[in-house]
């Protein structure tokens, strides 16, 4: 482990992200403000104005354009970055699908926020889930420190020629973007050594004209789509290597595709993504003190879905409770769907129970997690695994 990250500061999460982006030296930053993402791009704007960061800072008129600028800049051979949230990410969707198909590496901070209607500016993961199938890599972070570290790794992941896909670093709005935390920064020279200038495989060049992603009919379309999936699947190994390379430099190891927390010998395993993992770890510690064999899997990389690592970590568990901060209307939570699909048909699999918790910023305390564990135990005792997920702390009395 290196002895770096000596520069320790108390920073707002957004500021920590902006400093990470600055250290990555993006050639192009496109921005369109939307809460709770605004502080990130404002901080970057200040850096550009003050001459601390040399970058083409493009203010656009919508998130659709913000994403389009990234695609164009990336095709032109520039390292490029933007941040968005909620409706903004939804507006980017079409361009993200196209960019993944054109294998354009760039990085987006997906500040997680609920989606309308009704309007809510509070955090949940529904916005990022709208991009679930697009081909963008999604990595979720628990803390501002992890956000700082992960953004730097994200560019290296995106630009790896074996991967060549856009990456979205997802962080919960307000809880992470607007709270202050101790963050250790890494020296610029270390970042430069870890992340050399972007070397595109193809780039727009007037002397060698090219088109990106033109038509592919029934004879080749499937192969292009398979190639994206294959890059993600094969990319898992590379993502882990890049994370551990950065862990060696920074002296901080946040885990691989997942972080397994006290899952060894755990009978009940919780699964969570994002900032709630911190609360869940506290709850697990408390429950362990009380003699309950509980553990937690924090999913860091959601796409590609790290089922191999999750399956290994839950192989001895009796039951897995998935905490979902998003919901596929008419079905259930996305993580539960992914996990059950991979478990089906295998022998000796744990029961998976879906727990919808925290939509629209509904607060999740340790108490909520104790209730989740109680609920799961009850379901196990009765032997009746519910088809429908539990909606934690739902107020049925106010339903229309």
């Amino acid at each position: 482990m290196g002895d770096n990250g000596k520069t320790e500061r108390v920073l707002e999460g957004s500021e920590a992200v902006a400093l990470a982006i600055k250290a990555c030296r993006p050639g192009v930053i496109s921005t369109y403000p939307i809460s709770p993402q605004t502080h990130i791009v404002e901080a970057l704007a200040r850096m550009v104005v003050n001459g601390e960061l040399e970058s083409e800072y493009v203010r656009v008129e919508s998130e659709f354009s913000a994403a389009s600028v990234l695609a164009g800049a990336s095709a032109a051979g520039s390292r490029s970055y933007t941040a968005s949230t909620s409706q903004g990410l939804l507006l980017m969707t079409e361009v993200i699908y196209a960019s993944a198909g054109m294998r354009l590496p760039f990085v987006i901070t997906g500040v997680n926020r609920a989606v309308s209607a009704p309007i809510s500016i509070q955090p949940d993961h529904q916005d990022a889930m709208s991009l679930r199938d697009s081909g963008i890599i999604q990595i979720y972070v628990e803390s501002s420190q992890e956000a700082y570290d992960t953004h730097i790794a994200a560019f290296k992941i995106a630009e790896d020629p074996r991967i060549a896909l856009p990456v979205m670093v997802c962080m919960d709005g307000w809880i992470l973007t607007h709270s202050y935390e101790r963050v250790r920064l890494v020296e610029q020279e270390e970042v430069d050594r870890f992340l050399p200038p972007f070397k595109p495989i193809h780039f727009l060049d007037v002397n060698d004209p090219k088109s990106w992603g033109p038509i592919a009919d029934e004879d080749l379309y499937m192969e292009f789509r398979y190639a994206i999936h294959d890059a993600m699947q094969m990319g898992k190994k590379r993502i882990k290597e890049i994370f551990s390379e950065w862990a060696d430099i920074s002296g901080r190891d946040h885990g691989g595709l997942i972080e397994a927390y006290r899952t060894k010998d755990a009978e009940i395993v919780l699964i969570a993504m994002g900032s709630v993992a911190g609360t869940a770890k506290d709850a697990v510690d408390h429950l362990r003190t009380g003699g309950k064999k509980v553990g937690l899997i924090k999913i860091r990389c959601y796409r590609p879905f790290p089922y191999e690592d999750i399956l290994k970590a839950i192989q001895d568990a009796k039951v897995v409770a998935v905490m979902e901060a998003s919901f596929s209307m008419g079905s259930e939570g996305a993580i539960g769907l992914d996990l059950k699909a991979k478990l089906y048909g295998r022998s000796k699999t744990p029961v998976v129970i879906d727990m919808i918790a925290g939509l629209g910023g509904r607060v999740i305390t340790r108490g909520t997690i104790y209730k989740i564990v109680e609920q799961v135990e009850k379901a196990c005792e009765s032997g009746a695994v519910p088809f429908e997920p539990y909606w934690m702390d739902l107020k049925p009395e106010v339903l229309p």
Partner: protein, 85 residues
Amino acid sequence: MKIALGGVVRGGTSLAYETGTWRDRKPIIDYDLCKGCGVCEEVCPDNVIHDVNGVYAIDYGYCKGCGLCAYECHVNAIEMIFEAK
């Protein structure tokens, strides 16, 4: 042939793709009526009508059969013939 990452293709490759197979109607120029004005050459979105030795000729390898040339021809010298395939 291997597909390129991201579907990147170099310029000029559209020549290899004969889009004429997309057509279901074929423009036929009646040279008894044609005045040689060149309007069809101007309007053809696929740029497949050209003056070949003083006669406007259509390259059917790439003509998609949109019918713009027939619509714009002032003397109705172009007829669109249904090509069932």
